[in-house]
Symmetry: C2
Subunit: 248 residues, 2 copies
Amino acid sequence: MNGKRLNPHISIDCVLFGFDFEKLHVLLIDRGRYHSDFLHESIQYALPGDLIYMVEDLDEGAMRILKDLTGLHNIFMEQFGAFGNPNRMNSEADQRWLRSIRSEPEERVVTIGYFSLVKMTDYVPVASSFAKSAVWVPVNEVTELAFDHNELLEKALGSLREHMQTRPIGFNLLPPKFTLGQLQKLYEAIHDREIDKRNFRRKIMKLGIVKELEEKQKGVAHKPARFFSFDKGRYEELLEEGFQNFKL
Amino acid sequence: MNGKRLNPHISIDCVLFGFDFEKLHVLLIDRGRYHSDFLHESIQYALPGDLIYMVEDLDEGAMRILKDLTGLHNIFMEQFGAFGNPNRMNSEADQRWLRSIRSEPEERVVTIGYFSLVKMTDYVPVASSFAKSAVWVPVNEVTELAFDHNELLEKALGSLREHMQTRPIGFNLLPPKFTLGQLQKLYEAIHDREIDKRNFRRKIMKLGIVKELEEKQKGVAHKPARFFSFDKGRYEELLEEGFQNFKL
DNA sequence: AGCACTTATTGTTATCTTTACACTAAGCAC
DNA sequence: GTGCTTAGTGTAAAGATAACAATAAGTGCT
């Protein structure tokens, strides 16, 4: 074959979004302190990611890597893109870190991005492997990340938003019984904009994918809200009818 | 490191769609005859694709590979996904072909899919490298392709359709002066459905991204249509205003 | 008991968008 | 000039979107 045709490595990076009924967060790992200049020392964060195994499918790999690095398992993720700029790992800080964890730190790596969205409170990450710790960071407070991970995060967020226009991902995020206020907060957090309460409720109710329950909130310092549950049967009905629009 | 952590190869496959003012086509390469059973012999087609070079960016690689295999150059393509099922090349026919062109035919390959849409008549593909020939095939006449290429084609088509909802890709496909009938045919071919003429024209005109010209068709056996041209300035204006909806 | 505070709940109207639908016009071929 | 083909045009009904404010039901505090 061809001398130029050597073989980059392949990694998967996971962008795990978490929602806590307030804000949208992203799960990052702390790859340790570094000196940004002679005076300051910062923590640098990165997305959880690692090289894939020879025998695993990409989707499996994404789950496996997330578990290895954060302890969270059985989280299904969606692919959102491949990133292969030959210089994507060439910064000094990146190289220093790679030397500490990889046998071939200089090797080019093409990475494949995966994202998912979970209920933050259900998933308390545990540091493991080479990650010093894994933490939830509000997406609008994320600063400079390792490698090209800021770019990955942006792309993942875009994919998440698109995704929510066609599937009601997000109902897994709420408790089995939730209020429409909570559901609305979820949409507002992900799209980062306010939505009119009345219009929101009308649309949700017209879709028919939530069922009104008898039960109401208790012990809240305001008018108690009615609980609703996700009507999965109705949702699947809609999908079969070719319905594809959950835009809000 | 880890015995399991060997290193798959990386390829890029190109899904090039072409429009000829009638139907949507896809560019395939003929990888030669094979015996599907003891009686029949078929041509098997594949998407143009090959391993990437060590130093090129993915986007560059896609262009380079398309050029190597079909002679078409300077075609910008969009990424639509990575495909890495460990068994995606294990069929007998696939292996036979790989043995004829690769030094490590058994090696696992993860591929990254790219697509684009061009004016068919501008791009007459030339066979080169290991492709016996490259041909335009109408997308709804495509039969069984090599590897997982039918799956890639489906995904690419989906991405193309989504893409057209937010960008007026497609104006590059038409001559500088085109009729609204031609533009409508383009949309109909890609979305594979008929669109009402009056509604189509109204929407296009409201967007304001085409300019009416004085000139009309000549020598046609029916009422000559007025020519229009794409108003690039107006289009960029719309994008800057954050406008993102070219849905038809 | 009463007030402050907070979130829940509800409807209307104006505007815009979408969809469905059918006839006349202009050129060429014969 | 008849037939064929594609171009070009308007309207009405239904649906979707967006903007808008007042009352209700709890808790906490005094």
